[in-house]
């Protein structure tokens, strides 16, 4: 009988937990190591200090979880709050709802720790998975397939052998750094000039004193202010988690909490009413100003024995809500984690990992770029007239090419058929829809299709503008 092969997964966040579950499903014996204490045992206060409180999960992340554990996927969806669109808050108090999808598809606001705890629970229940907390990786000897791990609770170092090492240990990944000693890895990290601060918007009260949402809960709220912005995502307890994104230099200049309050009142008057001045000052004083880092790497694997997934492989700015979705999708894209039978080197696995590095790279570069571009869209473009016109045009072309009811629709449909014949999806589709609701279209294809569509929208917009001028000219001549 062939001995069961062992995988060590480093990092028990959502990506690490799902990797452990997926490997166990493929017959691996799995050990999952996490440097921090078990989040299930932490008080909510401590837990909430780790990363952002909630996040938007959408089709790609859900599909990945579903492929490993359909039950878990169902549970998350029940605890999530669907967000149908963006609610733009103008300075003058006007609200503007922009739906994400004309068919009503939603993204979902979910509690990060709830998602993580549930996946951790699933992993702990699996007979093939053993979970260790407060264990830090000191070093990895990839040639001899053994790593040195420090158990902080026992103050003890030990050697752990492995056949496969999966690094799901986040942006500042130790496994990535260890791999860089043996792999000629291209790597890049860049801090953008903006930072974020989390602010809590408490629940409002109805006539009977019950908690109610202070804003429409089925929207992702945005206060776009050109060089900075505020967003808010709903939580199950009727609170909102607000995140302020602004250039570090702007925040430095504000200095005191009083200045911050005045500045906040000028730019986000309605949000201030819902948050409350005292709460705002408390959060501004106590909550950290966190950096936004963007990292890229290539390749992601080493021989048949190591791979990095999720933020360890690609950290992106959070503006497309795709960071975690992409991390979970990574695992689906490793075509096969199936271990080979014995032998000094697992040729099948080596090929699978190598293929992953080659094929996944352009997708990861694409979504990293798209996420950065969406920041400009969110904090500024959404309020410009041209954006709104183009968005409308985008949606018209989308519905025309799908229905193909009118002759114009058929024309556009044929045009798009011409454009996307190389095994790619046909028809017109808004960029946001492709990124968020279509896991069947790779990020790279999304980016290319969007560029082509963008070109067409520009032409159509140009022709339309010209037609207006001609029509205007004729009218003017007639009146004279």
């Amino acid at each position: 009988m062939v001995q069961q092969r062992k995988a060590v997964v480093v990092g028990a966040g959502p990506v690490g937990c799902l990797a452990a579950l997926m490997l166990a499903k493929h017959g691996w014996k799995v050990e999952l190591y996490e440097g921090r204490p078990d989040i299930r045992l932490l008080s909510s206060k401590v837990a909430s200090q780790q990363r952002s409180i909630n996040l938007a999960i959408s089709h790609r992340g859900i599909a990945a979880i579903q492929s490993v554990d359909p039950g878990a996927a169902q549970r998350f969806m029940q605890s999530a709050i669907p967000m149908r669109g963006r609610m733009i808050h103008h300075v003058d108090g006007r609200l503007d709802s922009q739906l994400y999808d004309r068919d009503g598809q939603c993204i979902n606001s979910i509690d990060r720790s709830l998602l993580n705890e549930d996946l951790l629970e699933e992993a702990s229940r699996s007979s093939n998975v053993r979970v260790f907390f407060e264990h830090k990786i000191r070093s990895v000897d990839f040639e001899n397939k053994v790593m040195t791990i420090y158990d902080a609770s026992q103050s003890r170092e030990s050697q752990v052998s492995f056949d496969l090492c999966v690094g799901a240990d986040g942006s500042y990944s130790t496994i990535r750094r260890q791999m860089m000693r043996v792999v000629r890895m291209d790597y890049q990290q860049e801090y953008i000039k903006h930072e974020y601060i989390e602010l809590r918007m408490p629940a409002a009260r109805d006539g009977e004193g019950h908690p109610v949402f202070a804003l429409d809960p089925n929207h992702l709220h945005i206060w776009p202010r050109k060089s900075f912005m505020l967003i808010a995502l709903p939580n199950k307890d009727c609170t909102f988690t607000c995140t302020l994104f602004a250039p570090s230099s702007d925040l430095d200049q504000l200095g005191t909490a009083e200045n911050f309050l005045t500045w906040f009142e000028t730019h986000f008057p309605d949000a201030l009413i819902a948050i409350g001045g005292k709460n705002l000052i408390k959060d501004f004083t106590h909550n950290p100003r966190s950096p936004l880092i963007c990292t890229r790497a290539n390749p992601y694997h080493y021989k048949d024995r190591a791979i990095i997934l999720g933020d360890a492989a690609h950290s992106m700015v959070p503006f497309y809500g795709q960071g975690l979705n992409c991390g979970l999708e990574d695992e689906e894209k490793v075509v096969s984690f199936k271990p080979d039978d014995g032998g000094m080197e697992d040729v099948g696995l080596r090929r699978a990992l190598s293929r992953y590095s080659q094929e996944r790279h352009k997708d990861l570069i694409a979504i990293t770029d798209l996420a950065m571009a969406n920041y400009v869209e969110m904090r500024h473009l959404v309020t410009t007239p041209l954006y709104i016109v183009r968005k409308a045009l985008d949606n018209i072309l989308y519905s025309l090419t799908r229905r193909q009811a009118t002759s114009l629709g058929t024309l556009a449909g044929n045009l798009s058929k011409e454009l996307y014949v190389k095994g790619e999806p046909r028809g017109w589709m808004p960029l946001y829809t492709m990124v968020t609701f279509r896991p069947d279209i790779s990020y790279d294809t999304v980016q290319r299709m969007a560029a082509e569509q963008n070109w067409i929208v520009n032409v159509v917009a140009g022709v339309t503008t010209a037609a207006f001028f001609v029509a205007g000219g004729i009218l003017w001549a007639r009146r004279k």
Copy 2:
């Protein structure tokens, strides 16, 4: 009395040694730590396995050494072999000498270990510098200004305090990695698709059996073959150190030493005769295929207490021969390493380091780019007719603007005066001359001036070509 402040320099290569000397000169107590054994005690065989054997030192590096230790600079120049220009070796055996500078300025081939040993000797002699070998940095606590160092010879860890930590520990710098834990550092590393192998060309023998150079010793020899190239630098013992640069994939395909020999004979027949088939096979079999890495970082310092210099801050491809020159120049550019008197934070030093990060960055990006661009020039462009015409034009404009003897010269001189009025050097100057022989012009200025000159050369070349056509047309019409 104010206590003498302590600097720890990590890495005893040329950059680290010069940093130690410079700091000692400014009144610091210096400890210099090196992970490897003392190179002065190593056999030449072992020493030669570390990095490349010789390198080209030019005005920037010499000026930096001179500013700290004029005696050392003089000694190096005596042991160096001046190279007046490039000697292009064509496949058909033709030779083509291209001078680096019309006034005969040279770059200098120098033994790396000799340079390193001499600077190390100087540092060891200084009463303010203590040198430690086989000491590896484990971690640095920048807040408390203390680092953990492992003494490999004694197998013992100890804590070393410092006021200033200087990282001169090369491309894979530990100090840079430690700084990245506390500094929001942008960082990038990229491996180019080419590797290099060193090959030794033995001395030839004259009629009386004395060693003589097999090639002209006062040139840097290049065999440009478009996608790959061979270069050779002279050594004092009449040998040449040859370096073959080629895409990894090409070298992979060659496989066996026999295939390599055949391939080498096809592309570098004259070099093969001078090296000898047996020597070539030996070197190909035993010498490593080394990668070429390009790194960038920003910022380079942390508060008043840490800075990275040389390859630790910027590794470039070796094609402009500027890697070490730039590293040594770094130290001159830190305006003041002078420690302040006491106080919790050294405000003056903090400002100096911060100013260095801000002002040096664009120079380092410029030279990294120029080095990469010069690879294409060296392995391909130097052989193209257009390059030769443009090079000639470049030199004509250079001599015209300097002499200003003819009316055309005055015109061009005035033109260039118009161009470079903002405190920058006036007149025309070939790119290579600026990079290599003019430490007074920063790399960034060099890059900008070169772009502007390039534009003018293109216009002049265009006008000249048009004039030829017109003249040709007139001649043709007359003959008819």
